[in-house]
């Protein structure tokens, strides 16, 4: 590292992070990032010192964890894209970091909670692991399982898995994941049921009190029949289909013209 000042800041950062002092970690991170930029290590180019790269990577990793602890997802996003250089391009030079897979797994969960399934799979393909050993890595297999359950619709398994997170940080995503699931279930219910007792709706949607259900029903615009204790779902897509006259006419005219040209 170019200056000793950065070195002391770095050891301070490690201490602050270990004692989970979020405020101080944040302040130190901001200073360190400026330091990294001046040392040309934030986006390393050309030949740089091997040890400096390891330090830079660790600072960014701490930054990624810190952003999740402070629930700052865009910041996590930034740290992760900066880390990708270290993980992908320098993977042959640097020793593997113990934090690499937890962070990659967190990124996967983030994509899942934002319902970016296509990105999720693209990221999964790009992982430097052979595909059949993914399941043996606890940090990666957790998001993979979640995705699989979400896709096949075993929502109760997702609900039960929220306590089995392999790292502390994973739990920060659980809340938003539950929101995603709830919306999924609600849209399924709208399609699959004509009406549903409020009590059952509460269990299906993982709500504890009737009050919460009513509030949620209001949000989604469901018709609640309080006396009968049921929720009725309005059927969509039953409207009468009309013949698309314009489309058919233009198509037929076009055929006529083409036929004319052929004959």
């Amino acid at each position: 590292m170019a200056t000793t000042a950065l070195g002391t800041l770095y050891s301070q950062l490690q201490q602050a992070f270990a004692s989970s002092d979020l405020l101080q970690t944040g302040q130190l991170l901001a200073k360190l990032k400026v330091g990294l930029i001046t040392a040309g290590l934030l986006v390393p180019q050309g030949d740089v010192n091997f040890n400096d790269l390891v330090v830079a990577r660790e600072i960014l990793e701490i930054g990624a964890f810190w952003s999740i602890r402070t629930r700052d997802i865009p910041s996590f996003d930034r740290y992760f894209s900066q880390l990708q250089t270290f993980y992908n391009d320098y993977s042959s030079v640097l020793p593997p970091s113990p934090r690499e897979y937890p962070i990659r797994g967190l990124n996967l969960i983030r994509l899942l909670t934002q319902n970016r399934i296509a990105d999720f799979h693209t990221t999964l393909e790009a992982l430097p692991l052979p595909a059949d050993s993914l399941a043996s890595n606890p940090y990666i297999s957790h998001p993979i399982n979640l995705e699989q359950w979400l896709m096949e619709g075993s929502y109760s398994k997702v609900w039960n898995a929220r306590e089995e997170a392999p790292a502390e940080e994973y739990k920060f995503f659980v809340d938003s994941l539950m929101g995603t699931i709830r919306n999924e279930i609600a849209s399924c219910e709208e399609a699959a049921y004509n009406s549903l007792p409020i009590k059952d709706a509460a269990t299906l949607l993982f709500f504890r009190t009737q009050q919460e259900v009513l509030l949620y029903a209001q949000q989604r615009g469901w018709q609640v029949d309080l006396t009968g204790g049921t929720i009725a779902f309005t059927k969509k897509g039953e409207e009468k289909l009309e013949i698309p006259k314009d489309k058919l006419i233009t198509a037929n005219l076009q055929y006529a013209r083409e036929l004319e040209m052929i004959v």
């Binding site: 296509a118 799979h121 595909a131 279930i185 399924c188 049921y193």
Partner: protein
């Protein structure tokens, strides 16, 4: 039609090339017995003609024989050809000859130098003009291409071929001749092979990107198509689907490029789309790739690779591939493990699916389809539910749970709910009674049907128009027709005269003459 190996597997490619050599037989039966040096010289003459007449057709004909030719190259043949094509004091000749490994066949080479004059006179009778006129630079690049392919055939000379290909690329770019484009496209393929066999595929990327930009600025369609495919293959080799997708977004694949390039492009596109869960787009692309690919026996490697992916994508879309596909002579062996997966999905049995998956994991991993197949799990369930919904009009959630080996009734309820929302089945759940009621089947007529029909008609019309546009007429051919018409007119006049001469007996029927 040449070199379609998509998988680096060398034996596959070798097999493919053997097949390809066979394929040339019916097309050019006379070519086969021709000795290779003569063929190379003939090709050089063809390229010369292509450049002088501005007719790329001849160059394409030369390149079609490339794959057959490159299996039969030897040092002697190459040096003979170079000696024969270039005049004695040409500056290019030593530059080309230096690339040929001199050490390996030492005695042969020695003989070569001695007999440098004998081979020239023998063929000199036919291509006399080549002996003192310097050939066009296209010929030089073509010869360089042959040398690269020759060097690539031997592991010891990989590094040398890489150097030569880099030099050739520089030469092409400094010459900047439009008549060179088709050959340049082939050279790029050789460059990629050189990098890949040298094990540094990633380092070729900046070179390809720069060349792609230049090619698109120069409207060099063939090279551009070739380079886009090189880049996509490069990205996918390292699983960089994100970058590959961005490349596809930012570039336009030239529609005028040849079928093999199109087939490759569609295959790569299909792979990207499949990873992004856009299965219907992936399916369309793979279909295109299959249709545009050379016949199965010509390029079995590509044919198998595309079909492997296409089977998985079809399953992911919820369709079952046709049984006949797995009996195809070229595919039968390659698709055995995929066939087992298909069987598991078809019966909707989760346990069978899991066991097949773990049994063939290595194979799927090698084909890079493992993660796609893992996604099939939900399709197994969906297929199961669909089968149930077709055979029962009402079924209890408990029974669904038992039949599909699900963990709990609660799960079953969610899964069925999701299936209904996703449009897999038509029906609704009655929570109080705990059963699923299936709706009636939709009729086969509707607007989506007419849409599909419309699309097909559109396709046929387009095909017709394209083929009309693609028809070629030889120059001055209309003159022959004109002559024929002239002759007919003369004959008619003759006839009329005869009729007139025959006399006045026809005078009362003047209409006959005009009627002719």
């Amino acid at each position: 039609m040449s070199d379609v190996p998509m998988k680096p597997a060398d034996e596959k490619e070798a097999k493919q090339n053997v097949e390809k050599t066979g394929e040339k037989k019916p097309e050019e039966p006379k070519k086969q017995p021709l000795p290779v040096p003569v063929e190379i010289r003939g090709n050089a003459a063809l390229i010369d003609r292509a450049v002088s007449t501005l007719e790329p057709r001849y160059t394409l004909r030369v390149l079609r024989t490339l794959s057959a030719l490159r299996k039969r190259l030897t040092v002697k043949i190459l040096s003979d050809a170079i000696e024969a094509i270039y005049p004695l004091n040409s500056a290019v000749k030593p530059a080309l000859l230096q690339w040929l490994p001199a050490t390996e066949p030492e005695p042969e080479k020695e003989m070569d130098v001695d007999s440098a004059t004998p081979p020239t006179p023998t063929p000199a009778s036919t291509p006399t003009r080549h002996t003192n006129i310097e050939p066009v630079p296209e010929v030089e690049v073509y010869l360089r291409l042959l040398i690269i392919h020759f060097l690539l055939a031997n592991q010891a000379t990989y590094a040398q071929s890489l150097k030569l290909s880099q030099e050739t690329v520089q030469k092409i770019q400094s010459l900047n001749r439009r008549s060179m484009d088709p050959i340049a496209a082939k050279v790029w393929y050789a460059v990629e092979r050189a990098y890949e066999l040298g094990g540094e595929l990633a380092e070729a990327r900046p070179l390809f990107l720069a060349a792609q930009r230049t090619a698109s600025l120069r409207h060099d369609d063939e090279t551009q198509a070739s380079l886009i495919n090189r880049l996509l293959r490069n990205y996918l080799h390292y699983n960089l689907y994100d970058q590959a997708d961005k490349l596809v977004l930012k570039t336009n694949f030239p529609p005028s490029s040849g079928n093999p390039q199109h087939a490759r492009y569609h295959y790569y596109l299909g792979r990207i789309r499949a990873v992004q869960l856009n299965y219907s787009a992936a399916h369309t692309n793979l279909q295109q790739a299959i249709r545009r690919a050379p016949p199965a026996t010509t390029a079995p490697g590509f044919y198998q690779a595309v079909h492997k992916l296409s089977v998985v994508v079809e399953l992911l879309m919820g369709d079952i591939p046709e049984r006949g596909l797995f009996r195809h002579p070229v595919l039968a062996k390659a698709l055995t493990c995929y066939f087992e997966i298909v069987k598991a999905v078809r019966t909707g049995s989760l346990s069978q699916f899991q066991s097949t998956l773990s049994k063939h994991a290595a194979q799927f991993e090698a084909d890079k389809t493992y993660s796609l197949i893992v996604r099939l799990r939900q399709n197994v369930i969906k297929t199961g539910i669909r089968r149930l919904s077709l055979s029962y009009s009402r079924i209890s959630l408990r029974d669904i749970c038992v039949k599909l080996h699900l963990d709990s009734e609660e799960d079953a309820e969610y899964i069925v709910g999701k299936a209904i929302r996703d449009g897999v089945i038509d029906g609704h759940i009655s929570h109080e009674q705990g059963w699923m009621e299936c709706g009636s089947q939709k009729s086969g007529y509707g607007f989506d049907v007419s849409d599909v029909f419309m699309r097909r008609i559109q396709y046929c019309l387009e095909l017709h128009n394209e083929s009309v546009k693609a028809m070629r007429y030889p120059l001055n051919a209309h003159r022959k027709e004109l002559d024929a018409a002239e002759a007919a007119r003369q004959r008619e006049a003759e006839l009329l005269r005869q009729v007139g001469e025959d006399g006045g007996s026809f005078d009362d029927e003047p209409g006959i003459g005009e009627g002719f």
